[in-house]
């Protein structure tokens, strides 16, 4: 069965690149324009993976992760941060919030596909 990915980022060009890369590898990608949009979409569908930016209006990445982990349906769903942030402090916050991994932008499509395959197959 085709794996589904929720890609959350307020940058339209970034979402386009993520979607292009993962769709080429056979994943079904749904885009969300910010954390709030991502949360609303996650409530209507259980995705196999959530890939989220950190700095977004309305609801940032860390807040989105905490909100998702509070949902019974998203206790075990892998959540990866894809962000310009690279500090150890932020990574620790991400891990504490419930993130399963941290990818620093810019991403290489091949490496992104490899890590997504590793996480959800």
């Amino acid at each position: 069965m085709t794996k589904t990915v929720l890609a959350v980022d307020d940058s339209a060009s970034l979402r386009q690149m993520v979607a292009f890369s993962l769709r080429a590898a056979g994943y079904l990608v749904t885009e969300a324009v910010d954390g709030q949009d991502g949360l609303e979409k996650a409530r209507t569908q259980i995705f196999d993976l959530v890939l989220t930016d950190q700095n977004m209006p309305r609801l940032d990445g860390l807040a989105l992760i905490r909100a998702l982990r509070a949902l019974s349906t998203y206790q075990k769903v892998p959540i990866l941060m894809l962000t310009t942030e690279s500090s150890d402090e932020m990574k620790l916050k991400g891990k504490a919030a419930g993130a399963n991994g941290w990818l620093v932008k810019p991403f290489d499509p091949q490496r992104l596909i490899e890590v997504v395959k590793k996480v959800i197959g």
């Binding site: 990818l103 810019p106 490496r111």
Partner: protein, 186 residues
């Protein structure tokens, strides 16, 4: 010629505070603006170079494939060397596309940097406007007491706005190259 009059100590102190605050805040904002503009410039330059190289690589692959199609249409035998070259170019094209996708992410980062720059410029503009508005309260021939009051008022505004640097979006973008970032699985 009469000897120059000394400024009252309190007046001099307020004036000193004012000039120091202007220097500090102005310099603080403009230093950040300078750093962010340089970083934006580096990222844009690398992105454009990568995109240019990607375009050339993809173009070469496309042209070779066009030659192959033309030969096949003419019924001409396709030499193994051409097939091998096209296979190689196709692999190169995939790499070029990946490089282009990495480079195209420059907009996300430069947008954040530009947002910070705009924030700093707006804050500096506000500081100057506030100082100008306070200064406008000075009449044409102020006595020392009035001038002192105005100076103290301007200094208070500058002190309150002194933490404005904290209100500008903090720096989430530290990249100076358009290379793939680290990946860590927890």
């Amino acid at each position: 010629m009469s000897a120059p009059q000394l400024l009252p100590a309190e007046f001099a102190s307020q004036l000193h505070q004012l000039l120091a605050a202007f220097g500090r805040q102005g310099s603080g904002h403009l230093t950040e603006v300078d750093a962010d503009l340089r970083q934006t410039s580096y990222l844009l330059a690398e992105a454009v170079t990568k995109l240019g190289n990607s375009f050339i690589g993809i173009h070469a692959a496309t042209m070779a494939q066009s030659d192959l199609i033309a030969m096949m249409k003419d019924g001409a035998p396709v030499p193994p060397s051409l097939r091998a070259m096209i296979d190689r170019l196709q692999l190169d094209a995939v790499e070029c596309v990946n490089e282009a996708i990495t480079a195209l992410q420059f907009q996300d980062m430069t947008n954040q940097l530009i947002g910070r720059i705009v924030g700093h410029v707006a804050s500096l503009h506000q500081v100057l406007q506030d100082a100008g508005a306070a200064g406008a309260l000075l009449s044409h021939n102020p006595d020392n007491a009035q001038a002192l009051l105005v100076l103290a008022s301007v200094n208070q505004v500058l002190q309150e706005k002194g933490t404005i640097l904290d209100q500008v979006p903090y720096k989430a973008v530290t990249q100076t190259h358009m290379e793939s970032g680290d990946i860590e699985l927890f």
